[in-house]
């Protein structure tokens, strides 16, 4: 497991770059890494040595830490593996191969519409190859793992032939590649153990060498974002690496995410603050996982929430996943009780959402993921909470806002869920951003840096100016038949750009009412809702 983690960590950015959409949500690698990390942390805390127990802990840990769709599927792979190895202290080659196969089966079952050419296909091929190898004379666990890794590799290479979007973008599937890397990492550490065994008899666990863990433990899990200009990602990583381990430093010149386990969080923070503004600071004492220390504004809603003056008579609480200070305020203003920060490039984990659901003083909870990459992780929360939970499949912020507007504080969970679902379906979302790389998609030839518009998650228009691209998108959805356009201005857009955009919309669609709100979201200069 540790071998997988280290190897995945080393390849995470490469995996991120494989994302097919030219929108800045290429974080499959990060999501898989954080999910795996959650599993590994739990295993480290347990004294268990039996395969069955470790597998069970990995399944639980990865589920709690699951982020993004790839993370959720990964957690189901662990779950399948764990169920196959129940009651076993050790595995023979055949059992190991069977566990790989069952892992793939569980992943297929977890997805409502399995798509070939993804991590699912890769998991299944790994399982099949492992099963083939286990039948060979002289099979051992290394030969089975080797077969699984090579099966994964060849499956990954075939993914572009199975999925058109991969072919168009000229990449292999990111999630599948992530799984391949994990299997290879696992194989590497097992081979190292074999190596060491053959060299000098009894050895310490190989992964220890790979990850270079300190004897005294993991200290504080410290996470934050650095916002600035011309950030030197590699330079920051080098400096942080000297202060802790499990270091994860990813991002670009404007925004860097840092994750490190350190015994001295304040030194890490002081160091990072030299590079730019820190945001979303989160320091967790790893010996008491749930305790969180948060900076500034969030302190008020820390673990013990102030008792609301009056509880809603229907006993229904609202949790929403939201990013951007303006949007957070809008959701709160409409009555959302708990905000889980996250969204586009920062998918919250199942556990983040679970904790928010549990914190509410209500037994019935509506959860709004507000991003299509969060929906699956959100849907796992239902199995983990004792509360009755409805997850509304909102894919965008405008859908979430439309749903919350329809919330009625005197109606039941079911009535609200039905009305909110319907409201979310009737709003059209246009997300405007810049292509992070060139691509051909949906008949469009997009250059890096182009303004692109996604209509309800689909890349539909591109160009060089906001006004023109948004105008085309509005015409595309037949905006003249609608009434109201709300522009949520993101961090990257200025007031005058927002004003120019709204003037241009009014000019093209004189009957539409146009409203500008400060959303403060990252990555999307503009998000528009049309209703």
């Amino acid at each position: 497991m540790l071998g997988s983690l280290a190897w995945l960590g080393a390849h995470q950015e490469e995996i991120n770059r494989l994302n097919v959409f030219p929108v800045p949500d290429g974080d499959t690698g990060t999501n898989m890494l954080l999910t795996l990390q959650s599993a590994v942390e739990d295993i480290r805390e347990s004294p268990a040595t039996e395969v069955s127990k470790i597998a069970r802990i990995a399944a639980h840990g990865s589920l709690m830490g699951a982020r993004g769709n790839s993370g959720v599927i990964l957690s189901q792979i662990f779950r399948g593996f764990a169920s196959a190895v129940q009651d076993k202290a050790e595995l023979n080659p055949v059992e190991l191969a069977q566990a790989f196969e069952e892992a793939a089966n569980a992943a297929y079952r977890a997805v409502s519409k399995p798509t070939e050419g993804t991590i699912l296909t890769v998991a299944r091929q790994a399982g099949r190859s492992a099963a083939g190898a286990a039948q060979q004379p002289g099979a051992n666990s290394v030969s089975v793992m080797k077969a699984a890794a090579s099966g994964a590799r060849s499956a990954v290479e075939r993914t572009p032939s199975q999925l058109k979007i991969l072919r168009d973008a000229g990449v292999v599937d990111a999630g599948g590649y992530g799984l391949q890397i994990m299997l290879e990492g696992m194989l590497r550490s097992v081979e190292e153990v074999e190596d060491e065994l053959s060299k000098r008899g009894p050895a310490r666990p190989a992964a220890q060498a790979t990850l270079d863990l300190p004897e005294e433990g993991w200290g504080y899990c410290t996470e934050f974002l650095i916002e600035g200009e011309d950030l030197d990602v590699d330079g920051i990583r080098d400096e942080i690496e000297s202060l802790g381990n499990s270091v994860l430093v990813v991002g670009d010149a404007e925004l860097v995410k840092v994750h490190v386990h350190t015994d001295d969080p304040s030194r890490v923070i002081t160091l990072a603050a030299r590079y730019g503004r820190l945001d979303r600071l989160n320091v967790g004492d790893m010996s008491s996982q749930h305790r969180r220390i948060r900076d500034e504004g969030d302190a008020a809603e820390a673990p013990e929430p102030a008792e609301p003056a009056e509880l809603r008579s229907n006993g229904v609480g609202l949790v929403a996943v939201v990013a951007g200070p303006g949007l957070v305020e809008i959701f709160r203003g409409l009555g959302v009780d708990e905000i889980v920060e996250g969204g586009q490039t920062m998918n919250p984990s199942t556990q983040d959402m679970l904790l928010a659901v549990e914190r509410l003083p209500y037994d019935h909870v509506l959860l709004l993921p507000n991003n299509k990459n969060v929906v699956l992780a959100a849907s796992q929360v239902g199995d983990l909470t004792g509360k009755s939970l409805e997850v509304l499949p909102t894919h965008t912020m405008p859908q979430g806002i439309a749903a919350v507007v329809a919330f009625h504080p005197e109606r039941s969970l079911e009535e609200n869920a039905a009305a909110m679902r319907e409201a979310a379906e009737h709003v059209q979302t246009i997300e405007v951003t810049h292509a992070v790389r060139a691509t051909r998609s949906n008949g469009l030839n997009v250059h890096k840096g182009d303004v692109i518009a996604l209509i309800n998650d689909r890349l539909e228009h591109s160009g060089t100016e906001y006004d023109a691209v948004v105008g085309a998108a509005l015409s595309g959805i037949g905006a003249a038949d609608y009434e109201l356009v709300t522009i949520y201005r993101g961090q990257q857009a200025t007031d005058s750009q927002a004003e120019r955009l709204s003037d241009s919309i009014r000019g093209n669609f004189p009957d539409l009412e146009v409203e500008v709100q400060s959303g403060g979201q990252e990555h999307y200069p503009f998000i528009l809702s049309v209703e």
């Binding site: 409409l334 507007v405 329809a406 005197e410 209703e531």
Partner: protein, 274 residues
Amino acid sequence: MAGFRVVTDSTADVPAEWCERLGIEVVPLRVLFGTESFRDRVDLTTGQFFERLRQSDRLPTTSAPSPGDFATVYERLSHECEGVVSIHISGELSGTAEAARVGAASVEGFPVHVIDSRCLTICLAYLCRTAAESSSLEAAVRRVEERVPRQRILALLDTLRYLEMGGRIGRAQALLGTVLDVKPILSLADGKVVPLDRVRTRAKAITRLIERLHQDLPVERLAVMHAQAPEDAERIRARLAADLPDVEVEVGEIGAVLGTHVGPGAIGVAYIRR
């Protein structure tokens, strides 16, 4: 002079023609812009009121007539008829009915029957008309009291701001959005404002309003009331006229007092169920 007369207040939005034909007396509430006080529909027409509201940087306030205002009217009527049915805006929203009761007590030996309509605007006017068309004071009281629980107003507000600042928001508080303006749909039934829904566009609100009305069919009387929104009112009237060929759908304008609390752009359907 024999017979009885009907008294109401200016929140009833009684059409002028009914007042003349049926002898309905209207006691005005007051609208105050700062220190300037106007008698509703006497010193200030509805059109003038909304014009002033637009120009004023402060919201006006409203106040009930004084018991003395009522006493003056009852005293005059005591020389013209044998008794009065005095029907007023919901006691949950205004002290008008209470002022009428106190005023009535000061006119000795003259029967004044004060009824809290639990409603306002055209519903209240309908009750007045029903009363005025009754054969006796007793019949009028009976017929009005029978209709009080059958009235409902469904209203769409352009914003909750006016209701909030006027202090009448009540349970509709829960619909308030602090950053994003939402359009609330409210119901007034049995004297109280109840939140029904909130939406972001007028088209959706109007559709929701009509859907909700359909649950209360059949209706005896029905009107579309608006504050400075004649086009939307006509649109709703046309849709209702098509849906309900047997009912005459009237259109009327909301007066200054209610206008102060719901704001321009408010629109509603007011009806008495059969």
